[in-house]
Subunit: 258 residues, 2 copies
């Protein structure tokens, strides 16, 4: 297939390189032209400066931009490619955002966290697809099945609940690591001491219900330790960490005493 | 060495089995006698009903009970074993809690999360030891080095900051998984779809600073998605999850826009 991209960020980067294995990447547009240029060079595609330069001689256009930019992008791109299959890659954006402007629309959402520094294991990454036209759904199915063994046809409401859960499981747990690092950094203690704990905690969640794997002072209802930890954060003048400590401890306590 | 235990919970269970490889477990006391009995049977030790039955013919007594019970335990045990090396296994309990009652005191703190369902990789688990007497420190060093390649002599203040960080990195991240599971469960969506994301997020934290690995709507400052997610949680009548979503999103936003 012939595939073009809007966006040259982390998701676009990983998708472009993955799809390149079996398909031809034709053009890449990005608001920051240098980013489009860099990514295009890597996969022998063309970087374009404007939507007007986008070729209609493609099978699918993939919009991989931040959710807030999708509406703007589809309105402009639609005028140049009114009959092309156009998909977005967002978990929380309803397919309607595309269809109210553009009829041949779809979604191609990989449930993963993307960083430029790390390779993606596409084979195990769940992919959620959706399309307005059956033939387009089959096109997306083919692309998805080449990448992953876990492909699902989800509607926008189901996808949205997954994305919301992903914010808790990924974005918020990463912020917990970030807060932990700030705590040890302040005492010149090496963050890598926490690595085995971080990995074990994640692996436990894959083996049994996280609720049953909960440990720590709040789960045990140990008010003395909770008060001591809160006091430490107050002394260190970290009201942000103190607020998180109080809220999460309180909720864990409640959840394990009911 | 000859080692006895107070406590038969998760930490005691794993420590007893690990130390059993090279040493003799003599006696085990637990408030719930059946727990002591079960663990004692597994390692051919004796379960005892009272502190008065504890034999002084041992090299070390390990107190592996909840932090809140340590003070009580040391006061009672001291009267029967006034000259024995007695250590606790707590991250947040100062060695002073022992020394103000009992002179030959120590700490043997494994930085890990313990569940009965999972084996502990002791070799990579950091162990933090402390003792009032040099010869006792050497005893603990020997025990620790047999178990782990990562043994550290930390004082109680350093250990406390590590334990506080561990609450964020482990207990709170597990609660984030727990919240994620509640969200997908409510929509009959399979929690296992989030497994690759959970593991990738944890592995990223071991490769680079969690701050630089942060992703998600709050990091991108995407107020529309944040408002939509909050609205979903409100509609689903989950004020607990809504409160967490608001607080953590706000802090992530602030951290990544400064």
């Amino acid at each position: 297939m012939r595939i073009s991209f809007i966006g040259a960020g982390r998701v676009a980067h990983h998708l472009v390189h993955a799809l390149k294995q079996h398909h031809q990447i034709i053009q890449i547009y990005s608001q920051g032209f240098v980013h489009a240029q860099k990514l295009a060079t890597e996969v022998k595609a063309e970087a374009v400066h404007t939507f007007a330069e986008l070729s209609a001689e493609i099978d699918v256009l993939i919009i991989a931009v931040s959710d807030s930019a999708i509406s703007d992008v589809i309105q402009h791109v639609h005028t140049y490619l009114p009959n092309t299959l156009i998909v977005h890659t967002s978990g929380s954006t309803d397919i309607e955002k595309l269809t109210k402007v553009h009829a041949r629309a779809g979604v191609f959402y990989p449930l993963q966290t993307f960083s430029l520094e790390r390779e993606i294991d596409w084979y195990s990454t769940p992919l959620f697809i959706e399309a307005t036209h059956l033939t387009d759904l089959n096109t997306l199915l083919q692309l998805a099945n080449e990448l992953s063994q876990r492909v699902y046809q989800y509607n926008s409401a189901q996808r949205l609940s997954l994305h919301l859960a992903a914010v808790f499981a990924c974005n918020f747990s990463n912020y917990c690591y970030d807060m932990a690092k700030q705590i040890v950094d302040a005492k010149q203690v090496d963050f890598s001491l926490l690595y085995p704990l971080i990995i074990e905690t994640a692996q436990k969640a894959l083996q049994a219900e996280p609720r049953n794997m909960q440990t720590g002072p709040a789960m045990r209802g140990d008010q003395n330790i909770i008060a001591m930890h809160a006091q430490m954060l107050k002394q260190d003048q970290r009201p942000d960490l103190e607020a998180v400590y109080h809220l999460l401890s309180e909720q864990i306590l409640k959840r394990h005493q009911s």
